[in-house]
């Protein structure tokens, strides 16, 4: 049986404070993805969404699947959404499995966020517990002023810095590379040049992470179509060659066994266990950069370098630049192109593999792309291969 594949992709308008209805953004990306795949909406028989409609944090979720189904008058065999999955890409991984199982032919997958507008309306940010008190694992975190994922991530970054001697100057290369690439992407939200001095002078958020180590909330929606590779019509199929979604440690920010890596350690290992390809086959990598340190952890988890060596691996930025051996964040990543919960990175991988990157296109046409999303106890990754 043919592998599952991405056969079309679409993006809505993406930006800061668009003040647009999240449903309108979602329909924009979904109709573009369906058209991009050469399909009609009657062809769609499955929908997967990350995260679907959720209460908190405000603006993090988009419309629920039933609203999208009704707006497009879809006739569905299957649908799935939610946060309780293997990283943000979890619903898309589920879609690939649904296609493989034969219960669906064409799954519309979308991720919508309107955090930028929602935060403007609410004039506040950070994770808030629903109700007065913190519950679950957050009951053991929020009372200590660890309000934000920035704090939880900073604890890992400091542990990693202490263990391996990594410096802020090295970490800076993630933000600087993303910004340099964003300058060549007309849809990126922050395109002005960023220098190392500018990075180092930025406001500290939670040591050792400063402003440019944190991604930027935006409004936007991404959609892709997942089908069997032999069902591709307009676009060359991007076969899902391998999936990594293992979680072998304790699923906890505080209690994960190694505070110098995260759940991506296990997801990355599984990706190669399930593939005949190897890290040196990857032509372009879109690794999650919700916080810059996540990218270092992903580089190590995916075997691009050894544990503790990611700082040296990216030190002068040349290796990970657009013309380097392993181009990263080619569209600007989440740091400069906006927090689209991994789906912006997925979209960019598709663009690169289809050769549509314009000024930011990796010159030697990429054949194999890696997409990885997640941080903390939350990770999933995909290896895409152009048919």
């Amino acid at each position: 049986m043919a592998k599952s594949a991405v056969i079309g992709a679409g993006a809505s308008d993406i930006g800061r404070r668009l003040n647009r209805d999240p449903m309108a953004l979602t329909l924009e990306s979904c109709t573009r993805a369906i058209e991009d795949a050469g399909l009609k909406r009657e062809d769609i028989d499955g929908v997967a969404a990350y995260p679907g409609n959720i209460v908190a944090p405000v603006g993090y979720g988009g419309p629920q699947i039933s609203e999208v189904q009704d707006a497009l008058r879809l006739s569905l065999n299957w649908s799935s959404s939610g946060l309780e999955s293997t990283g943000q890409l979890g619903p898309l991984i589920n879609a690939a499995l649904a296609v493989q199982s034969g219960i669906c032919n064409h799954v519309l997958c979308y991720c919508t966020t309107w955090e930028s507008t929602a935060q403007g309306l609410a004039s506040k940010s950070g994770v808030k517990p629903v109700g007065d008190r913190a519950t679950g694992q957050f009951a053991f975190m929020l009372p200590f002023g660890a309000h934000s994922p920035a704090n939880w991530t900073a604890l890992y970054a400091q542990h990693y810095f202490d263990e391996f001697g990594t410096t802020r100057e090295e970490l800076a290369q993630i933000a600087l590379t993303a910004r340099a690439n964003a300058g060549k992407n007309p849809k990126a939200v922050y395109r002005d040049p960023l220098t190392l001095d500018g990075y180092l002078a930025a406001k500290m958020i939670s040591t050792p992470l400063s402003l440019y180590d944190c991604d930027v909330p935006v409004d936007g929606s991404i959609a892709v179509i997942v089908s069997r590779a032999d069902a591709a019509r307009k676009r060359p199929a991007l076969e899902i060659e391998s999936i990594g979604c293992a979680m072998r440690g304790r699923p906890s920010w505080v209690d994960f066994d190694d505070l110098s890596t995260m759940a991506m350690r296990d997801a990355g290992k599984m990706l190669w266990e399930k593939s005949t390809l190897k890290p040196s086959d990857v032509d372009v990598a879109e690794l999650y950069d919700g916080f810059s340190i996540f990218t270092l952890f992903w580089l190590e988890a995916l075997g691009f370098c050894k544990k503790g060596e990611a700082g040296a691996f990216i030190r002068d930025g040349k290796r990970i630049a657009l013309d380097g051996a392993l181009p990263l964040a080619t569209g600007g990543g989440q740091l400069s192109a906006g927090r689209l919960n991994g789906y912006g990175l997925l979209h960019e991988a598709c663009i690169q593999l289809w050769g549509d990157g314009g000024e930011r296109q990796v010159k030697k046409q990429p054949k194999v792309g890696l997409v990885a999303s997640g941080g903390g106890p939350f990770a999933g990754c995909l290896l895409l291969q152009r048919a």
Binding site: K128, R133, A134, T135, A139, F140, P143, Q158, S206
Partner: protein, 134 residues
């Protein structure tokens, strides 16, 4: 610190959050395999057999990582920044960890590896375990 978000107190977690009333820290311990278990769980994840009961611990710990938070996350937040958030490992058992604040010293002086001891901050109906240099 300013206005804190307090933890929900459940039957499972009450012994932990109310422990500080007498100045002592208590962690659930398994009657069979003698392992400490935290966060509170309904059964011992080590042996899946023993009954868990709160046991007084020394309150001594080591900072295994920390961060100085400089950001105000809400207009309602009147905390003095920066403040030190840490993960400490209790002396009693490897990987027996708490997230906490390091108090009783300038935040800039907090270091990985420093030894600390528990001190409690009462807030409404809970006693939050904080740690200070010892």
């Amino acid at each position: 610190m300013g206005m804190r978000i307090l933890p929900e107190v459940t039957p499972a977690t009450a012994s932990f959050w109310r422990s500080g009333a007498d100045g002592k820290l208590r962690i659930l311990k398994c009657a069979d395999c003698a392992q400490f278990v935290h966060p509170p769980a309904p059964s011992c994840p080590f042996c899946m057999a023993g009954k868990l009961s709160p046991e007084v611990v020394s309150g001594r710990a080591k900072v295994i990582t920390f961060t100085l938070n400089h950001q105000r996350w809400s207009p309602l937040d009147d905390a003095k920044v920066p403040y030190a958030i840490a993960v400490v490992e209790l002396d009693e058992q490897k990987d027996l960890r708490l997230m906490t604040n390091i108090v009783g010293c300038a935040p800039e002086n907090v270091r990985t590896g420093m030894t600390v001891r528990v001190t409690f901050e009462k807030a409404d109906d809970v006693y939050l375990p904080m740690f200070e240099p010892c």
